[in-house]
């Protein structure tokens, strides 16, 4: 009788946990629409089809590569504990036990796979925004496939798959480093190999290229904020009431403080409150809290979010000054604030301390020395073989007509 009751309680808990994890998966899914809207909004109307095309295909590539190799590269099993690399074979399949609480009290094998799979494409989407408006579609798709199929799961394994960073004591709750910095490094090397957009620097001066739809960018950022409840909230890996609700609070407070941080910084230093900077500030706060969303008090999450919001404004300006042309601010948001958020775990919250700060720094460094050279090599090979940049003529005319022979707004008057 009593064992039956225990069994029922366990089953109910398992069902509730799994339900939350599937909902979180769906929330992470909607982030891809957020990225698509944000990137389309912050770029020119003549490149809209191209941006949306990349953002439509990347989640598809991400899910498929994650099915074939990614999931088993990232979670190769306990026999690879402490390792740099592991692989548990091709494809996904579940035994009957994998679909009960024996697999995990939080989720079934399928939920586990899909939740992690939804994350995978995010790293490549980050690159998409930074290299927008000039990259050749075919080369980008090859890059994206290798990036989400190999680079992302290999790095993810180091921590989430039980690899050497996990053994060391490195902490990254939902991926300030493992998702955002990974994407950020790939974006940085891409921007370096590509060079700035035509017309961005005229006689050494910065010529701003305003995005064509700020309302679309706002929609994108709010979708991303919504999706982040799943990104961080799901990373609890169960429906633990205390933890999930704390994570919701820290996530929202960091996003809010990020907005205020970026608003204050742009208003004080750039004369006007810049909306696109404030949008970047919201994302900066979200990326900043991601590594320690379950460790921070409300006050600490506000401090982290605010600092990230201020940092992002100056990062955007500095990247612009050193001629690393990033139309959407992906480097500032994901790379810079990803690193900041990772280090923040050693400075604030339950794990704060010099030892932890050192582990965090090692994690940042490990991601950098693997992803940056690897992606640089990949861009180099692509540049030498098929080329990574469209012709200047195509760039002026827009990638929509050049790459797709389509227009996003065929019945609109051309402005430039």
């Amino acid at each position: 009788m009593e064992t039956q009751l225990t069994q029922d309680i366990t089953n109910n808990l398992f069902t509730i946990n799994n339900l939350w994890m599937m909902l979180a998966t769906a929330l992470v899914f909607i982030m891809h629409l957020g990225f698509a809207s944000l990137e389309a909004g912050l770029t020119q109307s003549k490149n809209t089809i191209n941006i949306l095309f990349k953002n439509s295909v990347i989640p598809a590539i991400g899910l498929l590569t994650y099915t074939i190799i990614g999931f088993n590269l990232m979670y190769p099993g306990e026999s690879y504990a402490g390792a740099f690399f592991g692989f548990a074979g091709l494809g996904i399949s579940a035994s009957p036990d994998d679909l009960t609480s024996t697999y995990n009290i939080g989720y079934t094998y399928w939920t586990d796979f899909l939740f992690q799979g939804m994350f995978a494409a995010t790293a490549a989407t980050i690159v998409s925004g930074a290299v927008a408006e000039r990259i050749k579609l075919s080369s980008f798709l090859i890059f994206a496939t290798i990036f989400v199929g190999l680079v992302y799961p290999i790095v993810g394994m180091w921590k989430w798959g039980g690899g050497f960073l996990d053994t060391l004591g490195f902490y990254d709750f939902a991926g300030s480093s493992l998702v955002h910095s990974v994407g950020g490094w790939g974006a940085l090397t891409g921007v370096i190999f590509l060079g700035p957009r035509a017309g961005k620097y005229v006689k050494g001066r910065i010529q701003p290229i305003p995005g064509h739809s700020i309302p679309l960018a706002v929609i994108g950022v709010f979708l991303l904020w919504l999706g982040w409840f799943g990104f961080n909230g799901g990373s609890v890996l169960s429906a633990d009431p205390g933890l999930v609700s704390l994570v919701f609070v820290t996530t929202s407070l960091a996003a809010s403080a990020g907005a205020i941080g970026a608003m204050s910084a742009s208003w004080s230093f750039l004369k006007k409150p810049d909306l696109t900077m404030t949008l970047n500030g919201i994302l900066a706060g979200l990326v900043g809290i991601t590594a320690g969303a379950d460790l921070m008090s409300p006050m600490e999450s506000i401090i982290i979010g605010f600092i990230a919001g201020v940092i992002v404004v100056f990062a955007v300006i500095i990247f612009d000054k050193i001629k690393l042309d990033d139309p959407v601010g992906a480097l500032s948001v994901h790379l810079v604030c990803g690193i900041f958020g990772t280090l923040a775990v050693g400075i604030w919250g339950d794990k704060a301390g010099l030892n932890q700060l050192w582990y965090q720094a090692v994690g940042v460094f490990a991601v950098a020395i693997f992803v940056a050279p690897f992606t640089a090599g990949l861009w180099f090979v692509l540049k030498r073989t098929m080329g990574i940049r469209v012709s200047e003529e195509e760039e002026w005319g827009g990638l929509d007509v050049g790459e797709h022979a389509m227009e996003a707004y065929p019945d609109f008057e051309k402005v430039s």
């Binding site: 910065i206 701003p208 004369k271 810049d274």
Partner: protein, 112 residues
């Protein structure tokens, strides 16, 4: 016949159209244009970088009328579109050799 082309402030268009219609000018062509004269553009800031919006958005109207009616049209435009500030626009007047209504083939003043 005369053609009156006038560059005006966009928000004056509706009032001007009503006044011209009431005065018996039964036809007007409008285009959205950009340009500059004494009124230079203004500065905008995007993500921390300032840039000049050199070409100011304006509306251009075109009216073709009998030579005798030209003065009246000009005075209506002056009356409505003048604010006294830089950026009110300009009026250009030129002679028109002929006009033809495509539907009927009528020409000259009958076509207006």
């Amino acid at each position: 016949m005369r053609k009156i082309e006038s560059i005006i402030r966009p928000h004056k268009l509706e009032e001007l159209q009503t006044a011209l219609q009431e005065a018996g000018f039964n036809g007007l062509t409008v285009s959205e244009v950009r340009g500059y004269g004494r009124q230079k553009g203004h500065k905008e800031i995007y993500r921390g970088s300032e840039y000049n919006l050199i070409f100011v958005p304006k509306v251009k109207i075109e009216i073709v009328c009998a030579s005798g009616a030209c003065e009246q049209a000009v005075s209506i435009i002056l009356d409505i579109c003048k604010t006294g500030e830089i950026g009110d626009g300009k009026i250009f007047i030129s002679p028109i050799e002929d006009a033809i209504r495509i539907r009927t083939g009528e020409s000259g003043k009958d076509a207006l």
